[in-house]
């Protein structure tokens, strides 16, 4: 199963992620 998030944000939104990384509920995905 998969969850897909699609969202609008200011252009300076930055992801704090690496492709393939393991993640858990509540961990930050990105910030402004």
């Amino acid at each position: 199963s998969t969850i897909v998030l699609l969202f609008e944000a200011p252009k300076d939104f930055i992801f704090n992620l690496q492709p393939g990384q393991q993640i858990r509920v509540g961990e930050g995905l990105g910030s402004l």
Partner: protein, 321 residues
């Protein structure tokens, strides 16, 4: 002599033969893809015939049968060995489960839906957006030209994924992506989280937002593991999914739960009407349910039209079959 010997020979069964050969073929393709993945080679996409073959498999029927099987109550003595095998195979961490005693879970479906201890998932306070699920980040980035990448180099159409928007007819000169944006200075972003079989399978609200619409797309239930996502273009548009759309502090926001063969049904806690992986729905259609005022009827859970979700709040879960 063939006619005479017919009584002795086993009858050919075309359907099981098709399943076995087809399954073997897909297994081989999966093995081939894994090898390519390891080599970090560019994805090799399935041909339309291969996709049509996979698409024609009765994956929804198989999924429901799998769900029925896993809903059978297990005798107490059998629970520990069965769940231990599952834990060992998929690397489940039972120390974070709310109930660690394996005898407590009556069947594999209950075990799959296990809850976590209250403090097991602290919420990141410094981030405006948190992970909605446990899993692996398959892909993330900006949406360009109304095409979204399910994995690097394999795209799907945003319009096929979300379905038509009401605002589309009002201003047809704008692209689908631009129609979703409330402010031209903003951009559209996406994140894909893949949940492996051993992961905690509830999903939570990634931010504070208001859900206005639920759109249910009954579809096929192909595997969504990263290998298949690299192989089948538009996989997320073909599979059964539930799209929740609404608004957050920066404008448009959506969360989509995509089902798979083994995990075919999706539950949303605040929506009792939603029924997924049901034989009454046909592939290719979609069904809307608005959470904003409908005529004179306003849902109790709404606040100024829409279901308000807090950051980290439990939203729903995936179920076996």
């Amino acid at each position: 002599s063939l006619t005479a010997g017919r009584g002795f020979l086993p009858r050919p069964w075309p359907l099981p033969f098709l399943f076995v050969t087809g399954g073997g073929y897909l297994g081989y393709q999966h093995y081939k893809r894994r090898s390519q993945e390891d080599d970090e080679a560019p994805p090799s996409l399935a041909t339309p015939t291969q996709v049509a073959l996979y698409h024609s498999f009765p994956t929804r029927l198989l999924s429901r049968a799998w769900g029925r099987l896993n809903g059978v109550e297990l005798p107490t003595w059998l629970r520990k060995p069965i769940y231990s095998l599952y834990i060992w195979t998929f690397g489940v961490n039972m120390q974070e489960a709310a109930v660690e005693d394996l005898h407590h879970y009556r069947n594999l479906s209950e075990f799959f839906r296990r809850r976590l201890k209250p403090a097991a998932r602290p919420l990141c306070a410094s981030s405006c957006l948190i992970s909605p699920a446990d899993g692996r980040i398959l892909h993330f980035g900006r949406v360009k030209n109304s095409e979204v990448e399910q994995v690097k180099g394999v795209t799907y159409s945003l319009e096929n994924f979300l379905g038509p928007q009401n605002s589309r007819s009002k201003n047809s000169s704008l692209s689908f992506r631009d129609l979703l944006l409330s402010c031209p200075d903003n951009d559209l972003f996406h994140v894909v989280v893949y949940l492996a079989p051993g992961d905690y399978h509830c999903f939570h609200s990634p931010t504070e937002w208001k859900v206005e619409l639920r759109r249910h797309f009954p579809g096929t239930l192909m595997s969504v593991n990263p290998g298949v996502a690299r192989w089948v273009k538009e996989l997320f548009c073909l599979n059964e999914r539930v799209v929740l759309t609404g608004q957050w502090q920066h404008g448009f926001f959506s969360l989509t739960a995509v089902g798979a063969t083994n995990v075919g049904s999706i539950r949303v806690y605040f929506d009792q009407e939603l029924q997924t992986n049901s034989p009454c729905y046909s592939k290719g259609s979609f069904h809307d349910h608005s959470y904003v005022a409908v005529g004179d009827q306003v849902l109790k859970t709404t606040n100024e039209g829409g279901v308000v979700l807090q950051k980290g709040e439990a939203v729903g879960e995936f179920n076996l079959g």
